[in-house]
């Protein structure tokens, strides 16, 4: 395949009309797979036994850990989209990072709330300002800031460029979150699943956790595609209203 042909194929995929057609076909399947995965994951989460130290509170892990992973993955998706906005001016890239910000904020909120509810019985406190908790809280504030910025600016392409720069600057927080438990002395435990020497948690906890993580990931992608579709429709409504206003202005000028 020649380079020009490859670029043409990519441009075809970047076409919002093609994206809408693809989303209409994919969304029912993605929603069904998400629901099935959640049903299996929740069944496994509640049918397993408790941990010998943490007891039944280990069940909080099945929602806290996937939500925490998603909070970081969502920001990574936004950073990749931001590169698409700044480097390639990809038509869907700014739609992608704008649509992902509220989803990332919601998953980060779940991670913070469930972490706090897990921390109280295990650590004896709802919250400590240690490196992991503080860096995730900063991530939550960054999501809120990006949502506010996108809503504050009328011109979506200008808002997208400003947001893209901020997203890329803020991406420095993602490795800080990931490695904060290794770099600093924190109350939060170190990684026990994604490790170079393999997971350290028992298989009976690992499987429900992995299925819930895949379910949360599918939920994110389903909602992201749907939110991107909504954003494309929103931009079309704005463009068509402008067109209607222009046409009305021309008619009035002719009559005058």
């Amino acid at each position: 395949m020649s380079d020009s042909l490859a670029i043409t194929k990519l441009s075809d995929l970047a076409n919002p009309t093609r994206f809408l057609a693809l989303a209409a076909r994919l969304l029912p399947w993605m929603a069904a797979i998400t629901a099935i995965l959640f049903a299996i994951g929740l069944y496994l989460s509640f049918s397993g036994e408790g941990d010998y130290q943490q007891g039944m509170t280990v069940r909080i892990m099945y929602i806290h850990v996937p939500a925490a992973w998603l909070s970081m993955m969502c920001y990574t998706v936004m950073a990749l989209s931001a590169i698409g906005t700044l480097v390639w001016r990809h038509p869907l890239a700014d739609v992608s990072h704008k649509a992902a910000a509220p989803l990332g904020a919601a998953f980060t909120l779940i991670a913070l709330a469930t972490g706090s509810l897990w921390g109280k019985p295990m650590w004896g406190t709802w919250w400590v300002w240690d490196a992991r908790l503080t860096s995730v809280f900063v991530l939550f504030l960054m999501y809120l800031g990006l949502i506010a910025l996108n809503r504050a600016m009328d011109d979506p392409s200008r808002a997208a460029r400003v947001s893209a720069v901020l997203i890329l600057v803020g991406f420095v927080n993602i490795p800080i979150i990931k490695f904060s438990v290794d770099w600093w002395n924190t109350l939060h435990q170190p990684a026990s699943v994604v490790r170079l020497d393999g997971p350290t948690i028992d298989q009976s906890f690992l499987w429900p956790l992995l299925i819930m993580a895949i379910a949360f990931t599918m939920l994110f992608f389903t909602l992201h595609v749907a939110a991107m579709r909504n954003e494309i429709w929103r931009r079309r409504v704005t463009a068509q209203r402008r067109m209607a206003a222009r046409m009305a202005g021309q008619t009035n000028a002719k009559e005058a």
Binding site: I110, L117, Q240
Partner: protein, 61 residues
């Protein structure tokens, strides 16, 4: 407070946030679709969605 309180509170919080997120995305999509349908009904269409202007031979441009 028992462990059951913390477990159920975690699942309730996660459930409420997730359901709110799903409802927001779904309702937002429905509202945008309704707006597009209203604009189309009033004759406002995207340039690419308009019927092609006829050529001199009567075929599409």
């Amino acid at each position: 407070m028992s462990h059951l309180f913390y477990i159920s509170a975690s699942y309730i919080v996660a459930g409420i946030v997730t359901l709110c997120l799903i409802a927001w995305v779904w309702l937002d999509g429905r509202a945008r679709q309704r707006e597009l349908a209203e604009l189309e009904a009033s004759g406002i269409r995207r340039r690419s969605a308009r019927p092609a202007a006829p050529t001199e031979t009567g075929g599409p441009a």
